[in-house]
Subunit: 344 residues, 2 copies
DNA sequence: TTGAAAGCGCTAACAC
DNA sequence: GTGTTAGCGCTTTCAA
């Protein structure tokens, strides 16, 4: 049985489809009587408006598309949650796609959202992404884009087609700067940083903040203290061990994500060194269980939920006509726990 | 600038819209020449098919709706990931909604998906949900439903409108039975269970498995060993303390979710008792950091990704015409770690 | 092998 | 205050 349409209601009432449509929209041209009658009948017949038919005219679905680079992390769940909250208040549904850190899949995701004529897109690009035509194409279709967490490089489109998109990112430079400062204040002088292999702008910024803080405090930046590792336990443990084996062993390590952080903890423990006495640890992480490790782990947290909300608000602004791109930087929260606190 | 439509291509080529449409669909009635020409032009003009227009005719969008009761957990991220994977292989997008454990929001979510004419819905009901008319309404619209992780009670719809939906759930009875058995094998005799306040079928089943295992081993089921707590750290710590203060203190606790488990760990540690020597612990949890707690925590894990995949497969079957409901039960995985292993 | 035309459900411009 | 009509982009009879 097909769902009730305006036509069905019109037929039942001996009215025209147009009248019914107007009545349902509270159009002032319609008499109280008719309006009441129509409303009543619509309810009786279990009518619900067909969004698709509507969208065919308006050209867009009341839906916001989201593309994240991977799904199963607290960080992106929380970003999504923030987006979903704002979107649903504004009457939009959220469609959720996953690029699995693959550029090809990201391209396909964008295409599919475009075909669905979503009202706008919020995206966090993959680590592979270094060309942006797939997003550029959206401009012709008037589909606004906001980048969240991972921004694209400045002005990736050479003139004359130079334009750019809004973004919401964490304050990575400041976050790393503050973490480094904190370690210095704790008396650390040989501070290492454990990075993933990523070319993401965000990672560059964190490294930058680290180096700045060392400079500001007249500490030497030693290349051998900047370690790179693949983002899995085994590789990260190896990378940490390499750091610990240096002639001048670091007395602190900053880990750029949670896997690296947890690996560093394991490696230091296994090597028989004490945390934080021999090696202080702090890491970028949104995992709540850092509290349950012994010792509890100092972290820099993103305000992921707020980032999602903010991104969605910007997108809604764009949907409502805002043209100029806006860049919002969300502060991080540094939580000092046992792993980086020297009792003195 | 509006996106290219069939009409645009037809105009450019001096063909009819119908011909262009057919060419693009590889309709054999069209000549090689024309087909080639159309394909070529479509590419040049950057044509992409308008899904909405299509759906207006077919009555449904190539989209699967998912409703989860909360967002920010690894469990549901992983379920979603499984769904998304299967869906995208079959050419469906996934729309993702969150009921926040509120019945009212769940009802609205269902309505919105219905209005969007999604091809099908996968849902995990809220703890409040005990009436199912909102799902029943979907049957008229031929929108199939699969319940995942949290099923609804058997046959909630009395005759003559008796029908039911497919489901994918964890094997809760067996999981709890096995965990209890394991503790008994470790020598525990006073086994307590720490429950949330939930009326979910799943929770009942877990309690059932626990009781069965006690029976099977001729152990008494003591009501005071069945503890209830709200699902937050503070309440759960209180509830655990109450257990520990019993005249005959339990020598093992089974926690029904991760919050309860982590709270139990804290409470036992704070009370100065040793894990597992004084109190063994095991819990239902999908959090990967149970490995990083001291002692490492024994857990029962759901195969969440597989549950998502399976649910999506069932749904696709229904979309393709499968009528009868199917119930799939996914085994859990028990991981024994230090917190429940007595060295003997 | 191709074209003309109807129709999916809805809204809005234009009558009356 | 209400009806008529056209049209959104596409597929699918029915004709030619």
């Amino acid at each position: 049985m097909k769902p009730t349409s305006l036509k069905d209601i019109a037929a039942r009432l001996g009215l025209s489809v147009a009248t019914v449509s107007r009545a349902l929209q509270d159009n002032p041209a319609i008499s109280q009587q008719t309006r009441q009658l129509v409303m009543q009948t619509a309810r009786e017949m279990n009518y619900s408006k067909n969004f698709i038919a509507n969208s065919l005219r308006s050209g867009q679905l009341p839906v916001i598309g989201v593309i994240v680079p991977h799904g199963v992390t607290l960080f992106y769940s929380s970003v999504l949650d923030g987006i979903e909250q704002e979107a649903s208040e504004a009457g939009y549904a959220v469609i959720n796609m996953n690029s699995h850190e693959s550029f090809e899949r990201e391209r396909r995701n964008v295409e599919n959202l475009q075909r669905l004529h979503v009202a706008g897109i919020i995206a966090s690009v993959t680590q592979e992404t270094n060309t942006f035509e797939h997003f550029a194409k959206l401009i012709d279709d008037h589909i606004p884009v906001v980048f969240v967490a991972r921004d694209i490089p400045e002005n990736p489109f050479p003139s004359p087609s130079a334009y750019h998109f809004s973004s919401v990112t964490a304050d990575s430079v400041e976050a790393a700067h503050r973490a480094t400062r904190h370690l210095i204040e704790q008396g650390c002088r040989r501070i290492a940083i454990l990075c993933g292999p990523s070319r993401l702008k965000m990672v560059q910024e964190r490294k930058h903040g680290y180096i700045e803080a060392l400079h500001d405090n007249r500490l030497l930046v030693r290349p051998e203290y900047v370690a790179y590792s693949d983002i899995d336990m085994a590789s990260a443990i190896d990378a940490t061990n390499a750091l610990l084996d240096l002639p001048e062993r670091p007395d602190a390590i900053i880990a750029l994500n949670d896997t690296l952080l947890f690996a560093a903890v394991k490696a230091v423990k296994l090597s028989g060194l004490r945390i934080p006495d021999d090696v202080a640890l702090i890491g970028f992480s949104d995992v709540e269980y850092v509290e349950d490790v012994t010792p509890t782990l100092s972290t820099i947290e993103d305000q992921s939920h707020l980032m999602g909300q903010t991104a969605c608000q910007l997108l809604l602004d764009h949907i409502r006509g805002q043209q100029l791109p806006i860049h919002r930087i969300i502060p991080t929260i540094q939580k000092i726990r046992e792993s980086s606190r020297k009792n003195s």
